[in-house]
Amino acid sequence: MLFNSFIFLFFLAAVVPVYYLLPHRYRNAFLLVCSYFFYAYWDWRFLSLIWISTAVDYAIGKNMYKTTEKNKRKRLLAVSVLCNLGLLGFFKYFNFFTESFNRFIGTLGFRPLDSLHLNIILPIGISFYTFQTLSYTIDIYREKLKPEESPVNFALFVAFFPQLVAGPIERAVNLLPRIQSKIKFSKEKFREGVVLISVGMFKKVVIGDTCGRIVDHIFAQPQYYSSMEMLMALLLFSVQIYNDFSGYSHIARGTAKLLGFELMINFQQPYLAVSIGDFWKRWHISLSSWFMDYLYLPVAYSLSRHIKTRTLLGFKAETWAYVVGILITMILCGLWHGAGWTFFIWGLMHGLYMTLSFATRKLRAKARRMFHIKKNAPVPNVFRILTVFVMVNFAWIFFRADSFGTAFYFIESFFKWIPGGDITAILGIIGTYFLATVVIDLFERYTGNHAFLLKLTPPFRYGIITAGWFLTLLYLYGSEPMPFVYFQF
C-alpha cells in the first residue's frame, strides 16, 4: 500500500480508532494483522519471506540468549546473518551477480550463460526488514538486548506497517519496549502525528512527485535534452529524492505517533550539511547509523587490531583502519541501495569524499588559522554547504542514471554544454523547488521539530494544513501516484 494513496488514508482512518477501542491485550495482534494486510495489498505472496525472517530470528534470539557457549552463539548468529542476507542476496542481487559474471566471461571470450538469469521480483521492503531483524540478533549476540518472549510482539517489531517497507530501520532496543508497553491515547502525540503526516504528504506528493515527472523524462532519454535541461533534471532529482524519502519518513513517524509509537528521525536537513561526514549524520540516519554500528566500527576495530605495526606505507594504523573501513562501508551502502555498478560507484564516491575530507582535515585547519577564520563562521559555512551540495549532486548522477552510459553522457554534456531550453523557465522551476525545500528545512531547524507547525496557534496551523491537504489531495486525485523512490531498494 502506498502512503500517497487514498486507500492508505482510508486504511489509517479505520485502523487508528479500532486500535484504541480494543483492550490492550489484543492491540498488538490487531496491529500485526493490519501490518500484514498493508504488505499483502502489494503482493501477498511475499508475506512468506517476512514470516521466514521473523520465525528464524525469533528462534535464534531465544536460543542465543539461553546459551553461554561462545561458539554456539557465533554459529547461531551466522545462521541469522546467512538467512537474512541469503534472502536479500537472492531476491535483490542474484541477477546482478549473474549478469556481472556473464559480462566477465564474455570479455574472456566465453559464451554467456543465459540460463543464469531469473525473472525475480524484488519484494518491497526486503532491504529494510532484513536489516532490522539482523540488528536484533546482533544486539542479542552482543548482549545489549534480551530476546522478545512474545511471538506476536516480535512479529510486530519486524512488520510494523508504518516502517515496514521503507524504514526508518528501527533498533529493537527502541521499538520493542514500546510494543511491550500499554499505550494510552495522547492528544499531543496525535496532534504531532497529524502535522507530520500532513507535512510528509506535501513533501512527497507536491514537491517530490512533481519533480519526478520532469526528472524521469530527462534521465530516460538525455540525448534529447540540452545541458541546462539536464542540469535541471539533476538538481530536481536531489530535491525529489530528499522530499520523497523524508516525506515518507515523516508519514511513517506521524502514523506511528497516531498509534502511540515513536520512530527515529531519519532526516535532519541533509542539504545544510557542512561536510560529507555531516551529510551522512543527516541523511537516512537509521541506515547510516546501522552501517556505522554493525559494519564500519567492527571492520575498523578489527583492522586496527590486525595491523601490528604503528605505521604502514607512511600512514598510521588508525588511518588505514578508517580509510579501509569507510570505503568498505560506503561501497556496501551503495550496493544496499541498488544491485548495480552505478550504485557501487555512488557508494565508492562517498567513501572517497570522506577519505579526502579525512586526509585534508589538518590542511584545512591550518588554512583556517592562517586566514583567521572561525570554525563555524557563517560565510565559510555557506561555502562549505555549497561544496558538499555540489559533491553530493555529482554523485547523484550515478545514483539516478540507469547505466554508466547515461551517467557519463550527463557529465560530458556539462563540460561540452549543449545549448537549448527555456533558461528563464528552467531557473524559475529550479529556484522555486529549492526555495520550498529550504524553507521547510529552515523551519524544522529553527523550531527543532519536524512538526514545526505545532509552534503556530491552532487557527493558523489548521488553516495552513487544510490548504496543504487541499492541494495534495487534488493533485493525488488527478495524477497517477508515484511509488516512493526508496521502495525499489
Binding site: P459, G463, F470
Partner: protein
C-alpha cells in the same frame, strides 16, 4: 461565540494566504499552469498568446505560445519576405505534444526543406489538442488563411473525421446542401457561464481541478480511491489516440459535412493561390480515401511510413520514460519531418 468567530477569521486568513502562496508555487514550478486556452468567438478553443505550456505525461515539454497565439517561431500575418509559408493544421499530434520544440517535425521540416528547394521556409504550427476535422476547417477559414500560407497541411486520422463535437465552439453543418459554419454557441448557456467564470481559468488551481474533473468524467474515481480493491474495472487501455473502430458509410454522421469540407479545400487549390494537402496520420476508412483521391485533393500517407518504422523495430508511439504508447515520439517526429520535407520538395509543391 466570540472565540469561535476569531478562530474562524484567523483560520480563513491562514487558509487564503496559504492558497495564494501555493498558487504562486504551482505557477513557478509549472506543476500546473493557468489554462492556455481561451474561447474565441469565431474559432472556439484557441491558444492564449504568450501562454506557458508544460506537459509531462507520455513525454515532457516546456514551451510557450508566441505573441500571435500559436506555437513556434512567431511569423506575423503579413508576409514580408520571399519565403515559402507552410501552415500545419491538426490536433495534439500536430501541436507537438510532449517533446521540446526543436524535435518537433515542423521544426525539422523547416530546417531541412530550404536545402532541398533553395528557398527560405516558414512553418507555422496551428495544431491544437482536441481539434477534429471540422474544427480544423473552422480554424483554417477563420484564422490560418489570414497568414496567407502557400501550403496548408491538414493532418487527419479516422478519429478526427468521426469524432463527435464535444468542445464549445462554432460548428459546421449542412444547410440546403451547402456547408455553413454556425456560431450559435455564443448564445448557449454554457458559453455564458464560461464567460462569467473565465477569470477562474487564470488560476493554476483551476487547471488542477480540470484535470481531476477529467478523471472523474472518465470514471476513474473508484480506481483512484480504492486502488486494487476497486471492484469496478477501469478498462484502462493503451495505444495511440488515432485508433477507434471506423464505422461504415451508413452510420458516419459527418460524412456529408466532411465531403463538403474536402470540396472547399479542393476549390482553394483550383485558385492557384494556395495549396491544401491532406496528410493521413493513419489509414482512414476506404470511402474517405476514395473521396479525397476522387476529388483530386493531394494527400500524403504517413501511416505506411509509420508502419515501416514499426516493422524496423522502432515503435513511433512508444515513450521510454513512461513506458506508454501515445503521441508520436522523437524518432517518429524526425521521420515525419524528413519525409514531409522530401515529399514537398519532390512533387507536392508542383
Amino acid at each position: 461565540m466570540k472565540k469561535k468567530i476569531v478562530f474562524m477569521v484567523k483560520f480563513s486568513l491562514a487558509f487564503t494566504v496559504s492558497l495564494m502562496v501555493l498558487e504562486i508555487f504551482l505557477r513557478l514550478t509549472q506543476i500546473s499552469l493557468p489554462s492556455t486556452i481561451t474561447i474565441d468567438e469565431k474559432l472556439g478553443r484557441k491558444f492564449k498568446p504568450n501562454a506557458r505550456i508544460m506537459l509531462a505525461a507520455e513525454g515532457f515539454r516546456l514551451g510557450k505560445t508566441n505573441k500571435y497565439g500559436y506555437t513556434g517561431t512567431p511569423y506575423p500575418p503579413e508576409r514580408n519576405r520571399d519565403a515559402l509559408r507552410i501552415a500545419l493544421v491538426g490536433d495534439s499530434y500536430v501541436e507537438g505534444h510532449y517533446l521540446p520544440e526543436r524535435y518537433y517535425f515542423g521544426k525539422i521540416m523547416e530546417e531541412k526543406l530550404p536545402g532541398l528547394i533553395h528557398r527560405d521556409v516558414e512553418v507555422l504550427n496551428f495544431g491544437l489538442a482536441g481539434l477534429n476535422f471540422r474544427r480544423m476547417y473552422i480554424n483554417y477559414t477563420g484564422w490560418v488563411t489570414t497568414y496567407k500560407p502557400d501550403i496548408t497541411l491538414f493532418f487527419i486520422a479516422p478519429f478526427d473525421l468521426l469524432e463527435k463535437e464535444t468542445h464549445l465552439g462554432p460548428r459546421c453543418r449542412m444547410d440546403n446542401g451547402s456547408l455553413v459554419i454556425s456560431y450559435d454557441f455564443n448564445r448557449s448557456r454554457s458559453y455564458k457561464i464560461r464567460e462569467k467564470l473565465e477569470f477562474l481559468r487564470n488560476f493554476s488551481f483551476y487547471s488542477l481541478f480540470q484535470k481531476a474533473y477529467a478523471m472523474f468524467q472518465l470514471g476513474r474515481t473508484s480506481g483512484i480511491l480504492l486502488g486494487s480493491l476497486n471492484p469496478f474495472s477501469d478498462g484502462d487501455g493503451e495505444g495511440n489516440g488515432d485508433g477507434g473502430n471506423p464505422p461504415s458509410m451508413e452510420n458516419d454522421d459527418y460524412l456529408e459535412i466532411n465531403r463538403a469540407i474536402f470540396k472547399k479545400l479542393r476549390a482553394v487549390n483550383d485558385t492557384g493561390k494556395s495549396r491544401n494537402i491532406i496528410v493521413l496520420k493513419s489509414a482512414v476508412p476506404a470511402y474517405y480515401k476514395e473521396m479525397i483521391d476522387g476529388m483530386g485533393l493531394p494527400s500524403i500517407d504517413l501511416g505506411g511510413e509509420l508502419e515501416k518504422m514499426e516493422k524496423e523495430g522502432i515503435d513511433p508511439y512508444y515513450w521510454k520514460a513512461t513506458r506508454k504508447r501515445g503521441h508520436w515520439n522523437h524518432e517518429a517526429q524526425r521521420m515525419i519531418g524528413n519525409y514531409l520535407a522530401e515529399r514537398l520538395s519532390h512533387g507536392e509543391l508542383k
